[in-house]
């Protein structure tokens, strides 16, 4: 947004010298200026120079941010790709049930803590809001758990009452499984749920990410679904080893599933964030470069014009003397 504002500013600067040259009002104002005959005859280039300097600085910053994102991305991408196998056994066993109809839904939307990374956070928020609409209804309850500062900022505006929990600074340090399982434990202790729905951006490539929803059912919901048949019907065929009762093992299983899926989701989202930041900063640097080119052109043209004016005056003055 800041960049767009800057760009508009740049356009205005481009137009302004032209309007000064043509408008009669500007001309008529010149004789009244007592001081600085040079400044009055030619247009001041000071403002353009300042603008060029600031654009150059902005470009330096965006370039540096791009480099930082690119170097972080490589490490995170490897970790993300390695963690992709981690959730697959659970999906193979418990299936994928986004359309499950339960009373208490909790939407865990994963966003980033820092901005300047393109549309990744608004994408998460949009999907979460649509999911909220999808899961809400009479006698149903849907709550949000938001990871990340930027998601909170966007959500607080219109769904403040449904936010149950907000966790920030997840991405600050390189994540490991232990940290995520503490986080998952925190969420599980503080919310009541029948189904947890994790919304995150799955990393696809540096320039593209895929909004994704993973669904995790509570042990009771799993049992109900498996009794009702359907997608989880096969679960009844499994023998259960260890633990006192089936319910106990199922609870361990679903909580473990949540931590595993969350681990992958947080990594995927972090990776997408870096990728998105990289491409966003790349295009910002490019835009800054283009703007700098335009400003340089304006600057040089104005300078040339003032030189030409001076020359004309000298020559005409000289010819008046000789003639």
């Amino acid at each position: 947004m800041a960049m767009a504002a800057l760009r508009r500013e740049g356009r205005r600067f481009l137009l302004s010298p032209v309007s000064y040259n043509t408008s009669g009002a500007a001309r008529s104002a010149i004789p009244s200026d007592e001081f600085g005959s040079i400044g009055a005859r030619s247009i001041s280039t000071q403002v353009v120079r300042n603008r060029m300097k600031s654009v150059k600085n902005i470009q330096k910053i965006t370039k540096a941010m791009k480099m930082v994102a690119a170097s972080k991305l490589r490490a995170v991408q490897v970790r993300t790709e390695n963690s992709r196998g981690f959730w697959q056994p659970f999906t193979a066993l418990l299936g994928d049930t986004p359309s499950v109809d339960v009373k208490k839904n909790v939407i865990v939307s994963i966003t980033s803590d820092k901005g300047l990374c393109g549309g990744i956070n608004s994408q998460s928020v949009r999907v979460s809001k649509a999911l909220y609409k999808l899961t809400s209804g009479p006698e149903k309850e849907t709550k949000y758990v938001i990871l990340g500062e930027k998601g909170k900022v966007q959500m607080v505006r219109d769904s403040k009452n449904s936010i149950e929990m907000n966790i920030t600074e997840v991405q600050k340090n390189p994540l490991n499984y232990t940290q995520v399982s503490v986080l998952a434990d925190d969420i599980l202790k503080n919310v009541e749920y029948d189904a947890l729905r994790i919304v995150y951006n799955k990393f696809h490539s540096v320039v593209s990410f895929i909004p994704t929803i993973s669904t995790i059912l509570s042990p009771e919901a799993v049992e109900k679904e498996s009794e009702a048949g359907g997608k989880l019907g096969e679960l009844d065929n499994y023998e259960i080893e260890g633990g006192e009762t089936k319910a106990e093992v199922l609870q361990n299983l679903t909580e473990f599933q949540f931590s595993c899926v969350l681990f992958n989701a947080v990594l995927e989202n972090g990776c997408s964030e870096l990728g998105a930041r990289m491409s966003a900063m790349d295009s910002s640097s490019r835009n800054a470069g283009e703007m700098l080119d335009r400003l340089t052109l304006t600057y040089n043209r104005t300078r040339q014009a003032s030189i030409t004016t001076e020359l004309t005056e000298i020559i005409s003055g000289a010819s008046a003397l000789t003639g």
Partner: protein, 210 residues
Amino acid sequence: MYRHAPRLLIRAIGEGGRRSAPSAVGVTRSFSTDVPAAPSEDAAFVEAWRKVAPNIDPPKTPLAFMKPRPPTPSSIPSKLTVNFVLPYQSEIANKEVDMVIVPATSGQMGVLPGHVATIAELKPGVLSVHEGNDITKYFVSSGFAFIHANSVTDIVAVEAVPVDHIDPSLVQKGLADFTQKLNSATTELEKAEAQIGVDVHSALNAALSG
């Protein structure tokens, strides 16, 4: 000689085109006779989503990123397909082996092809993968093993190391440390934590000696 060149060229191209045409047909045919892929999205969910948010594409679900698992074969296959995953890497991915022995909470459990479908919680212990005469041993901390009816076994562990990477002297030291902690523990929490430490280290010890 050059006068004929264009004509020859055209003929060659024409023949090439004619030759390639049937092969293209063949390709499309082979595609059309392919078995339709398993649905990678939940139709009911997509439909409900389109009603609620027609201007946002329905988000993907994990099923779209997963290879469909094979159906249960009618006869028992000779090999067991194993997936062994950790948070930071997939240790074994879709590998065919003869047998795995997993440390279930109810005791060591050998899994052969055609094993009955089971969900097993794991305790700290040795996971061994038998492949012909090769036996790979890992020490796993905890996790789950899912044995599916189609002779596919998924093992999810929080941490695992090959047994030969473990330093015996450190294990002895850790065991002594935790035993001391267990004796000096005052609160329930400390006691439980020390007990876990002792359990893990004695399992490590047993893995090294066994």
